[in-house]
Structures are given as structure tokens and as C-alpha cells.
């Protein structure tokens, strides 16, 4: 079984399911292609000399990479959700977290609707429940059923 639907065991259904998770960008081939240079740019920050060059002038450093202006803006703003939308992957973007010297969990919290202390608190209490965030389609169906009830 490669998908949940026994009748559709194929790549198309597989990829469709990957897009059905709320608040999640699965790193599919499409995103990997879109974000190729963004991720390779982030990878370059594993070298000390590159981190220094980047910190000295972020835009000038990024201008040496074939990034779109939108990608550069999102990176400069540290808007990680937008980075994900443009093909960034968190393990690559993590090189930017460490260049900034911020904890991984703090960087992750910026992608949620919580501030870091609140996010930490949620984790200490057992994390985010999967209830209600398993499936976009299931949530839509539930919302539609509720509407009919009214």
C-alpha cells in the first residue's frame, strides 16, 4: 500500500495525499525543484567564511545565487513559511537558524501562530494534538456537515 485509497495505488494519488495535511508542506519533487538553489544556498552556510560573508551583506551574498527576488526577500525576512512555499526544506534552512544562532525549536516556533515561550509551553505539556489537523479534506467535509445541520 502506497496510499490510503486501495483503489488508487499510484503516484498521482500519493502526491495528492501529501497535499492534504493542514499546515504542512511535504518536500515533494515539485518543491525540491523549485527550492533547489535556495536549499543549496543555505547549505553553503555550513562554511565559516561563507557565514561571515553572508552576515556582512546578506543581499549581496544571495545575489551570487540564482534565487528569485521573492526567495531572497523571504530569506531576509526569516519568513520560513514563505521559504517552505518556495521550495525551502527545514533541514537546509536550519543552516540559517544556526548562522543566526537561534535554537532550532525557536526557529520552528516562528512558523506557528505562537511565540516561542508559548510554543515551548505547549511542548512541555505534551505537544500539539493531531486532533483536527490530520486532513484538509476531512476538515472541509466536517465543516460542510456542520453547516447543513444548521
Amino acid at each position: 500500500m502506497i496510499t490510503e485509497d486501495p483503489k488508487h495505488q499510484d503516484i498521482h494519488e500519493y502526491l495528492a495525499e501529501m497535499e492534504d495535511i493542514p499546515g504542512t508542506r511535504v518536500f515533494t519533487a515539485k518543491r525540491a525543484r523549485q527550492g533547489y538553489h535556495m536549499n543549496q544556498f543555505a547549505m553553503s552556510l555550513m562554511k565559516d567564511e561563507n557565514r561571515a560573508k553572508f552576515k556582512a551583506d546578506e543581499r549581496a551574498y544571495m545575489d551570487e545565487w540564482p534565487l528569485t527576488e521573492d526567495q531572497k526577500d523571504a530569506l531576509i525576512a526569516r519568513d520560513y513559511n514563505r521559504c517552505l512555499d518556495m521550495g525551502g526544506n527545514v533541514y537546509f534552512l536550519a543552516k540559517l537558524f544556526s548562522t543566526d544562532g537561534i535554537p532550532f525549536a525557536e526557529a520552528v516556533s516562528t512558523m506557528t501562530d505562537m511565540k516561542f515561550p508559548e510554543y515551548r509551553e505547549m511542548m512541555m505539556k505534551g505537544g500539539r494534538s493531531p486532533e483536527g489537523v490530520r486532513s484538509i479534506k476531512a476538515n472541509e467535509a466536517a465543516a460542510a456537515a456542520k453547516k447543513e445541520d444548521r
Partner: protein
Amino acid sequence: MARITAGVASSHVPLLGVASDFNKDRDDYFGPIFAGYDWTREWEKAEKPDVVILVYNDHASAFDMKIIPTFAIGCGERYKSADEGWGPRAVPDVEGHPDLAWHIAQSLVLDEFDMTIINEMDVDHGLTVPLSMMFGKPDAWPCKVVPLAVNVVTYPPPSGNRCWALGEAVRKAVESFPEDLNVQIWGTGGMSHQLQGPRAGLINKEWDNRFLDGLVGDSDHLRRIPHIEYLRETGSEGIEMVMWLVMRGALGKNTRALHRHYHVPCSNTAIGHMVLRPDNGEGLDMTGSDTGSAIAAE
């Protein structure tokens, strides 16, 4: 003949490496996590494995987006700790076992697993954190390591079923190696965690514990879990648990649990840890550790 005497599962959160390296491993936050590994550290001292086949994933350290091997096996002499952006961890170099690794690599290819061979690479927290958790802070790691890297970053990763089958083939390969070697296989990563997007921070204790239950005994139902279930139920990075199935597949039909530990949270992640003994009449309880062991589930 070489044989696989035990399987170990463990999360490999990078923060655990930091805690170990900076002596925070017994503070209020990390103490309960590391305490769950005390049993295993004593047990490993008695078991004295010669080699650990360490199933893990690279986190954009040795592999970038240029080349993405689905299954890769390290056949090198030694591996250094990778600089993941804050300098390499101050841990011993990892010594390989090229004879066994090449033997496994060749056997796997002939067994129709098309492996990528790695002769040189640095190893990141995915590999070094489990070593710290199981062995503490020695001057040199007490065993050799055969790294087995699985792609769980770029989709699709290999299916759980394929991982399990790879484990079965690894077991066959190990058992045809002529030298007497005590070999363990470790599956690392997991358990539930999501490091990205508005849904970050997802944890699913119930699912994780069912998965731990499923590793014990003679059922192989875990191999049929589709990727989407890991993603929905355990977060986008929970997919790492397919790597545990390589370990499980290498233990044969039946297993016994010697030790179990589960804790939330470590940073964004649920910590899961288990020690398993293959239980197919091999009689592998060399050290008498299997009787009277504390099976502590939270």
C-alpha cells in the same frame, strides 16, 4: 560466522548531543530523557558488540540536493563528525568496518538492493547522537560502525515494506560473513515530530506507543503502514520511523523487548527508545541480561 544479536531503536534529536557535550544530561529537562538510557548503557557494556550497523538519515550534512541516494552504505575506514553550522561535535571519530561493510554492500546488490556505496563522508547528529546515548562519553567509541543512510528528506522515501525487506537482506548478508562478529543493528530517528509549518510541534503519544508495541513479537503489520499515515499521525518528520523497520526486519520473525523508554518532549520531538532481542531460537542471551530486565513504559 557473524550474527545480529540485538536491535536498538532510538530518536536522534540534535539537542541530545548538545546536552551530552555540555554536561546538561542530568538537569531537570534532560535528566528524565537520559535516565531512560541508563539501562542500555550498562547492557551495552556487557554485550560488547564488535560492530553496529547504524541506520540513520543525513540532515543536509554529507548529502546536499546534488545527489540523493535512497539507501547508502558507508564502506570507509573512518568518519569525522560533521560541522552542522556551529562547529563539529567534540566526539571521537567513528571507525568503520570496511570488510563487513563491503561484504554487506556486495551481498545486498546481488540480493537486488541497488545500494549507493560511500567511501568518504562526515557523519552528523543522526549517527553520533545515538552513539552518545548508548555509550556516553568515551575517549573512543567501543565498537566499529557501518553507517546505513536512508533518504527520508526528499519524497518519496523508501516504503516501510522496502525498509523491512532491506533489513531481512542485511541479516542474510551478516550471517554469511565468515568472521565471528557480534553485530547489533540500530534504527534511529523519530518518534512523532513536525519541524515545519503551522502544524509544527505535533506529538502523538498513542500512535508512537502502538508503534513501539508493534516492534515486539512476531507480527509484521508495521511494514504495511503507508507514508501518509506517518505524516498525518506523527508529523512530517515522523516519517523517520521507517528507518526503525530496517532494524526490525533484520531481527527475524520474532523479537523480545528487553527495554523500553518514551518521553515527551525533547525540543520539538517525542523520544522513543527500545532494545530488542531476536527471539527465533538463536539463544542470544550471552550476558544473562534478558531475565529480570525492567520494561519501563511511561
